[in-house]
């Protein structure tokens, strides 16, 4: 493992994009920051500017109105950027996939590197998912 990959793995800055979700995923992502899970231990932190992001966490089903915003954000991100679809909604559209405003699961809009299913995935699962993505 080169120094590059090593450092990359050790220092992941996350950017969170919430689509039309039910909020549970959003809350569980936020929960990862709080004392019980504290992802800062692994050098991960949430950043507020997509320019600083290494990982784009997308949760929620994406409706037509969100789709453009998601595309825009993805194009603004500096590469390499990893995209993680969080929650059943992010992976497949979940229970909202048949809705009349649904614009396709995340991977139909931007390439996705990892899927973390669950409705909502537990914070442990989110952390584990990102760690697995790194060891890919």
């Amino acid at each position: 493992m080169g120094i590059k990959t090593f450092c990359f793995k050790k220092s992941l800055w996350l950017f969170h994009f919430g689509g039309a979700s039910c909020n549970n995923c959003d809350i569980e992502i936020l929960d990862c920051l709080t004392p019980r899970y504290d992802v800062e231990r692994f050098g991960m932190k949430l950043v507020g500017s997509i320019r600083h992001a290494d990982v784009l966490l997308v949760n929620g089903s994406i409706n037509r109105r969100d789709k453009e915003r998601l595309l825009e954000i993805y194009h603004q991100a500096p590469k390499p950027i990893l995209v993680v679809a969080i929650g059943t909604c992010g992976c497949t559209g979940g229970i909202f996939a048949e809705g009349n405003t649904f614009a396709g699961p995340v991977d139909k809009i931007i390439p996705v590197d990892a899927y973390i299913p669950g409705c909502p995935p537990k914070p442990e699962a989110i952390i584990a998912g990102i760690v697995k993505l790194l060891n890919k």
Partner: protein, 310 residues
């Protein structure tokens, strides 16, 4: 001669040493913050991972609007300024060379370079949010620099009108300046100046959030941003050392004094962190009034006191 200058600049006590020391201090900062919030906090090497990742792995996106050349040059300028300041402070402080007359003023100017460079960089990025950040930063500089200058003047006065860092240190050989009432007042003012210079709460006005580097740096990515955070590490190390030198009797790297010196720096940094963690952010005009009125007053009182030898 040239060779040793390069060593001084690049390795010790310059770029390499200062960034490593600053990196550790940055980790210290995050760790203490985490502990206040019942969290565990990042590993020791985290600041270095962050830096290397940004430098080596990430793509640097040039702004579509604005001026890419200025945008890219400014982080370099900031880094050079910070490093030079660091070298000029540390050489006399560590008793390597004796410095030169008036170096304290040069240092003052050098310490201003990073902030100014960031402002220019932000303006060059063409992002509206970044320019809001830049204009705030500018206002902030105007407010705290006067205080900082007054502090320097007070120290020079206390040291018997000497404007050489080495001599200021020597003047404190028996008791540090902080041992007097005026010294304490100066120290308080200096800590707030540092807080502002480092962009820490309550003066992180130019960056929108504690955790987020928004504002001025919103458009920086990849290696350009790596330089920005490196500059911040160096400043995080340099500024406390500078205050330590001016008011706490300098540093020494011989024998047991190493421990004392380290403790001094850590204590200053700890103070900064605690202030940062227990205060919400100020509004820009509040910050300006804070420095213009209260801090300047404080320093002037200190000067007056020191005239009477207190």
């Amino acid at each position: 001669m040239i060779f040793s200058t390069i060593i001084y600049f690049l390795i010790f006590p310059g770029l390499l040493f200062a960034s490593i020391a600053g990196g550790f201090l940055s980790w210290f900062d995050r760790k203490v913050t985490a502990m206040v919030q019942f969290r565990k906090g990042p590993p020791v090497l985290q600041p270095f991972y962050d830096f290397l990742k940004l430098l080596l792995v990430k793509e640097t996106i040039l702004p579509a609007k604005g001026s890419p050349v200025v945008f890219m040059l400014m982080p370099i300028l900031a880094l050079v300024g910070a490093t030079l300041a660091c070298v000029f402070i540390l050489l006399p402080a560590l008793n390597i060379t004796s410095g030169f007359n008036g170096d304290i003023l040069v240092i003052f100017y050098l310490l201003n370079i990073p902030a100014l460079a960031f402002i220019l960089g932000a303006l060059a990025s063409g992002n509206p949010l970044a320019s809001i950040g830049a204009s705030r930063e500018l206002k902030l500089i105007i407010s705290y620099e006067l205080t900082f200058l007054l502090i320097l003047a007070a120290v020079i006065f206390k040291a018997g009108m000497r404007i050489n860092l080495q001599e200021i240190i020597m003047a404190q050989a028996d008791t540090s300046f902080i041992g007097s009432i005026s010294g304490i007042l100066l120290f308080i003012a200096a800590i707030f100046c540092l807080q502002a210079k480092l962009g820490y709460v309550p003066f992180d006005i130019a960056e929108a959030e504690t955790e987020i580097n928004h504002g001025s740096f919103i458009e920086y990515s990849g290696s350009a941003y790596a330089l920005v955070i490196l500059t911040k590490y160096i400043l995080l190390f340099t500024l406390p050392v500078f205050i330590g030198t001016l008011l706490l009797g300098g540093l020494s790297f011989t024998g047991i004094n190493i421990v004392y010196s380290l403790l001094k720096i850590l204590a200053i940094v700890l103070l900064l962190i605690l202030i940062r963690n227990t205060n919400p952010r100020l509004k820009i005009h509040q910050a300006m009034r804070f420095f213009f009125v209260w801090m300047n007053l404080l320093v002037i009182i200190a000067i007056t006191l020191s005239i009477f030898g207190r």
